[in-house]
Amino acid sequence: MDKQVAEQIIRSFVGATMNVYRSLTNTELVPGGIEKAPSLLFKTSGVVILLSFSGAFAGRTILATSEKMMEFIHECIMDEKPTQDDLLVTANEFGNMVIGHAVTDINNRFRGSNVRPTPPSSYIGENLTFFNFKMSAYNVVFKSRHGDLKLNVALEEGAK
């Protein structure tokens, strides 16, 4: 995929993540720079949201953070202490909002690309490893008062 196209798609996810986080928590995420991921394996522990999309551009985006940060997001929405199942539902909802915003932005940037999201999924666990093949991946790390949020965007090589 063309590097500039990839960068615009990543920027759509960065903007969407910041907007959704701000609207839910009234606090800010501060993004770092875009870095090419050294490997197609993404390793983490805690809460992970997997956002997949297809169309002229296909790929998947991972949002990864700690249970503590997801608890903070949940408490901003529900005003109650969450169970682990609640965290998965909150993560799904957060992911749904992010991919909705991001895909709208991508389709506005690239008219006719017909990019469509699939349902977001969320995971909790330790030593989680996500594998993708024949893709190029990029990382952005957001800092916040409540911890870090990692964004990893993997794009299929070659537009469809």
């Binding site: 197609l40 394996l41 997997l50 997949s52 999309f53 297809s54 169309g55 296909a58 790929g59 998947r60 682990q84 199942d85 998965l88 539902v89 993560a91 799904n92 017909n114 469509r116 999201p117 699939t118 349902p119 999924s121 969320s122 995971y123 909790i124 666990g125 330790e126 030593n127 989680l128 490893t129 996500f130 594998f131 993708n132 093949f133 024949k134 893709m135 993997a154 299929e156």
Partner: protein
């Protein structure tokens, strides 16, 4: 839908000479996964009106048997890139077969392989159809949800 899913899995496993000892199907209130080794693929129609998720959950001994059938004579670590790539390919093939059987005109997302410890996943908040295939040394579960 569950019949099409069952046929798709049996067709693809059959091409590798694999048949499960027995299977059972169920309807879940939401699409969840509980095994710590799985592959996830998203599907969406051209208009974005219908979208869904397929998950393939495996016990490690079952993956070893699948790998032995796919690449006979070669020792492949279940959790290696080659191991996950091979089961991702099976997931891709089953998904393609299922969509054809359902007459679903749409797109699929690239498969994502996931391994972890004490892992739990919520893949969709709508009803899901799950078929569990059992062998002597473990099981494989294929779940499909569509909204």
């Amino acid at each position: 839908m569950i019949e099409a899913l069952s046929e798709a899995v049996n067709d693809i496993l059959g091409t590798f000479g694999i048949s499960p000892k027995y299977s059972n199907a169920m309807k879940l209130e939401s699409h969840i996964i509980e095994k710590s080794l799985c592959v996830v693929i998203g599907v969406v129609d051209r208009n974005g009106d219908k979208k869904g998720v397929l998950s393939f959950e495996f016990d490690k001994p079952v993956v070893l048997d699948l790998l032995a059938a796919m690449v006979p004579g070669i020792d492949v670590d279940v959790e290696s890139e080659m191991g996950i790539s091979a089961i991702s390919e099976i997931a891709n093939m089953v998904t393609g077969k299922l969509l054809t059987k359902l007459g679903f005109v749409g797109m699929t997302t690239p498969p994502t392989g996931i391994i972890g410890q004490n892992m739990k996943g919520l893949l969709n908040t709508t009803y899901a159809y799950k078929i569990t295939y059992r062998w002597q040394n473990g099981s494989m579960a294929v779940t499909f949800s569509l909204t």
